[in-house]
């Protein structure tokens, strides 16, 4: 009987995936959000953190993302087909019932740490760990996160190198359009990458 009715149990994806921009803090996630927004992708944000010296184009954040571990996930119901920023440490709190296309920003770790140091200074936060320790912890975090992401049945991941992106934005913007499977405006996307904001590079590219 099961064979006779094979095919009837299939569950097609009812909702479009949620686009997630992720990565370590200061890996270029805000820039990626801005690019996708310019391309025409609706963003899921609030105004909890506005543009400042560290992110002159804005943070593109949603405060509720930080509270997913407390069960605040109701906002995801309206996020299908939109883009939201979720830093790498919070990805594991994304609920399983949705599907996600994750654009994961990767950047030279020294650049990330340099940028974080500056940002901590601007926020008058003290450095509780030295760079060597925190680099090891970030590396451990990434080496646990990537295999986990690879095994998520509801997450498709595109790794984007910030450094490569700044070197060849057009190629990578085209890849983004292909990955999101949404007809974004390439010309407007290309207007965003700003080499002037690429301030913490380890070497000239």
């Amino acid at each position: 009987v099961n064979k006779l009715f094979s095919g009837f149990g299939k569950k097609p994806g009812l909702r479009r995936p949620i686009i997630v921009v992720s990565g370590l803090p200061r890996s270029g996630t805000s820039m990626m959000m801005k690019i996708l927004a310019e391309g025409g992708l609706p963003v899921v944000v609030d105004q909890s953190r506005t543009a400042d010296e560290d992110n002159p184009n804005g943070y593109f954040e949603l405060e509720l993302v930080k509270r997913m571990s407390d069960g605040h996930i109701e906002w995801l119901a309206n996020a299908s087909g939109k883009v939201v920023k979720v830093i790498s440490g919070l990805l594991e709190h994304l609920p399983q019932e949705y599907s996600y296309k994750v654009i994961f920003m990767e950047r030279e770790i020294n650049e990330i740490l340099a940028s974080q140091r500056k940002m901590l200074a601007h926020r008058n936060e003290e450095l509780k760990s030295n760079d060597v320790e925190i680099e090891q912890q970030f590396q451990r975090h990434l080496s646990a996160l990537k295999p986990w992401l690879a095994r998520r049945p509801n997450m498709e991941v595109l790794y984007v190198s910030y450094n490569a992106f700044m070197a060849n934005p057009e190629l990578l913007c085209r890849r983004l359009i292909e990955f999101t499977d949404i007809p974004l405006d390439l010309g407007r996307m290309l207007s965003v990458p700003n080499r002037d904001l690429y301030r913490n590079r380890t070497s000239r590219t």
Binding site: G89, E92, W148, R151
Partner: protein, 605 residues
């Protein structure tokens, strides 16, 4: 969903990587270029039936219950073949499925997709209640319900250890007769063997004619016959059908004829051979006859000198070719679902040639590479997205020394014998604390669990530690460690069946393996002996010694270590067992707090 899985039993990572380094396997190498190759972490112990079941279920033996090729009845200490369990019912003794854990095939079927598993081990008997098409692999018995040995007919008085010997009796010039023994039936006077008379006419030194069951089979010296269908009359209305192949191996002064184990006829099986019946019949009729025994490559015939190396290899080739034809036939109509096929000739060839004929072994890797090239070409025409996996259940290693583990346990005062005897029936259980049954298993003689158990609960940990430490310190005459790793079951297994598993899982170092005697609980006179058998290589060692491989048409580089637990996810996009998937915050280990402090400082938490 559209997934093709090719299982290459025993495809060894080190052999592959060495040959790939010399550009000898171009079709496999393409997967490397696309980051679609990885070594595969296989389950413990790395035995064929255990490993393929773990791959199909994504669970370790604690989750499916097959721990070793041989299990034991704890009450009687009697060993039995784990993949061929029987249960007594009103209808007599019946084979029952060796496990019931959900496979990726069942999951795919539950999702509404057609699923097919060809020659997958431990899938006999078929389960008509499960909507998965199967032709079973390892574990499928012969028509006697056993794992199967062939029959040798000879004009000479000969002896063999396992093979059944029948004298060819002269019945005229160049004519010989004998009886081919078939299945047993129960009669009032007890079990009775049904036989078929055979007549062999030797035409010349290179050809002969065999008459059996009203059929004429023309034989050429050293060449296998086609598959012959036989019918044994078991009563007025009941026949037992069988299939086999014959080969004349000597037609000179001595006449020798060899017959493969009598195998289940898929069109007339008295057991649930395949699922569905119409599926196996369709393949038989539209593709051609195929051997059905779980281990059709007759290594015993080769080991015992009944057939030559070349005849054995020719048989492997024939089996391989027919399986390719069957898979190819099914690929013609494969639109969606899961289609998986195991090819196990390489395993048998490595058992027999890995230690001294690497040319033969490497030749087979090249054959598999050509086959993969053909499949790859075919897949280029597939338009929709699909998953494509090629994997092995374990690799291979030398088997230079046979370890008689029960003798070692005896020598180290964990086991005591009564006077005489060399098996578990002669053990003094009142003074025995541990014993070995199976190829990688040690059991403690636990009070309340074993029939004559003496080890109390508070002694378990100490005893496990003591055996572990002593075994890890065991060196052979040249100073090499015999054991690479030995772990208690709770360190290796998780899942509801864990408590039924062996108390210690023994991982032999490369070059060592438990003897077949150990597998059956026997206690020979010495603890180790050199292996001089034709069967000179194996994989029943520590799982780290014999990693498997996985090739995929997707990037595998982000997975880190890929294990058997990942296969259902890679095949059908779903984990069947999530118990080993830890979120990154738990998997990353120490430093998580400092990381959170940093993120809070930056305003991201």
């Amino acid at each position: 969903m559209k997934t093709l899985i090719l299982g290459f039993d025993s495809f060894d990572a080190a052999v592959f990587e060495e040959m790939a380094g010399k550009n000898q396997l171009p079709n496999f190498e393409k997967f490397i270029q696309q980051s679609g190759y990885s070594r595969l972490e296989v389950c413990s112990p790395p035995q064929t039936e255990v490993s393929w079941t773990s791959i199909a279920t994504g669970a370790d033996p604690g989750g499916h219950g097959i721990f070793d090729f041989v299990h034991r009845d704890p009450v009687t200490y009697t060993p039995y073949v784990s993949i061929l369990p029987m249960r007594k019912s009103a209808l007599g003794e019946q084979f029952v499925p060796p496990y019931t854990a959900k496979t990726l095939f069942e999951e795919a079927a539950d999702l509404g997709y057609p699923a097919t598993a060809l020659w997958w081990p431990a899938m006999f008997p078929a389960r008509p209640d499960v909507p998965v098409n199967t032709l079973p692999g390892l574990g499928t018995p012969d028509i006697r319900g056993q794992l199967g040995v062939g029959a040798l007919f000879s004009t000479e008085d000969e002896t063999r250890k396992k093979t059944r010997l029948t004298k060819l009796v002269s019945a005229g010039k160049d004519r010989f007769t004998a009886a081919l023994e078939g299945p047993q039936t129960q009669s009032r006077s007890g079990p009775q063997t049904i036989s078929l008379p055979i007549i062999v006419d030797v035409i010349d030194g290179k050809t002969a004619r065999l008459f059996v069951d009203k059929q004429q089979v023309d034989l050429r010296l050293g060449e296998w016959s086609d598959i012959v269908e036989l019918r044994f009359k078991a009563g007025m209305l009941f026949n037992v059908h069988a299939i086999t192949r014959f080969i004349a191996t000597s037609l000179g002064r001595v006449v020798r004829l060899y017959c493969l184990p009598l195998q289940i006829h898929p069109l007339h099986s008295t057991w649930h051979y395949a699922s569905s019946n119409s599926f196996s019949k369709k393949l038989w009729k539209e593709v051609g006859p195929y051997l059905t025994l779980g281990w059709p490559q007759d290594t015993t015939g080769l080991e015992e000198g009944c057939i030559s190396d070349d005849q054995f290899l020719d048989l492997c080739q024939k089996i391989f070719d027919r399986r390719i034809q069957i898979l190819s036939f099914l690929l013609n109509d494969f639109r969606e679902g899961v289609l998986a096929s195991i090819f196990d000739d390489l395993d048998r060839i490595q058992h027999m040639f890995f230690h001294d004929r690497m040319d033969v072994v490497q030749g087979w890797y090249k054959r598999l590479d050509q086959f993969v090239g053909q499949v790859n070409k075919r897949l280029e025409t597939w338009s929709s997205k699909y998953r494509y996996l090629i994997l092995s259940d374990h690799g291979f290693s030398d088997f230079r020394n046979k370890v008689h583990l029960n003798r070692w346990l005896l020598e180290n005062d964990f086991l005591r014998m009564q006077n005489g005897g060399n098996d578990l029936g002669s053990v003094d259980w009142t003074n025995t604390r541990a014993y070995a049954v199976g190829l990688n298993s040690i059991y403690l003689n636990v009070s309340g669990r074993e029939g004559q158990g003496i080890v109390q609960a508070d002694e378990l940990e100490g005893l496990l530690t003591s055996i572990r430490e002593k075994l890890l310190g065991w060196k052979d005459a040249s100073g090499d460690s015999v054991i690479q790793r030995i772990r208690p079951k709770h360190e290796v297994y998780s899942g509801p069946y864990t408590r039924f598993g062996p108390d210690l899982v023994v991982g032999y170092a490369s070059g060592y393996r438990a003897s077949a005697d150990t597998g059956l609980g026997k206690i020979p006179a010495i603890s180790m002996e050199p292996n001089t058998d034709h069967w000179g290589a194996d994989h029943c060692m520590d799982s780290d010694v014999v990693p498997g491989v996985i090739f995929a048409n997707r990037d595998l580089s982000d997975f880190g270590t890929i294990s058997f637990r990942d296969i259902p996810f890679l095949a059908i996009g779903k984990h069947l067992d999530q118990s080993n998937l830890k979120p990154p915050s738990q998997a990353a280990g120490e430093g998580q707090k400092e990381l959170e402090e940093r993120l809070k400082g930056l305003g991201y938490l």
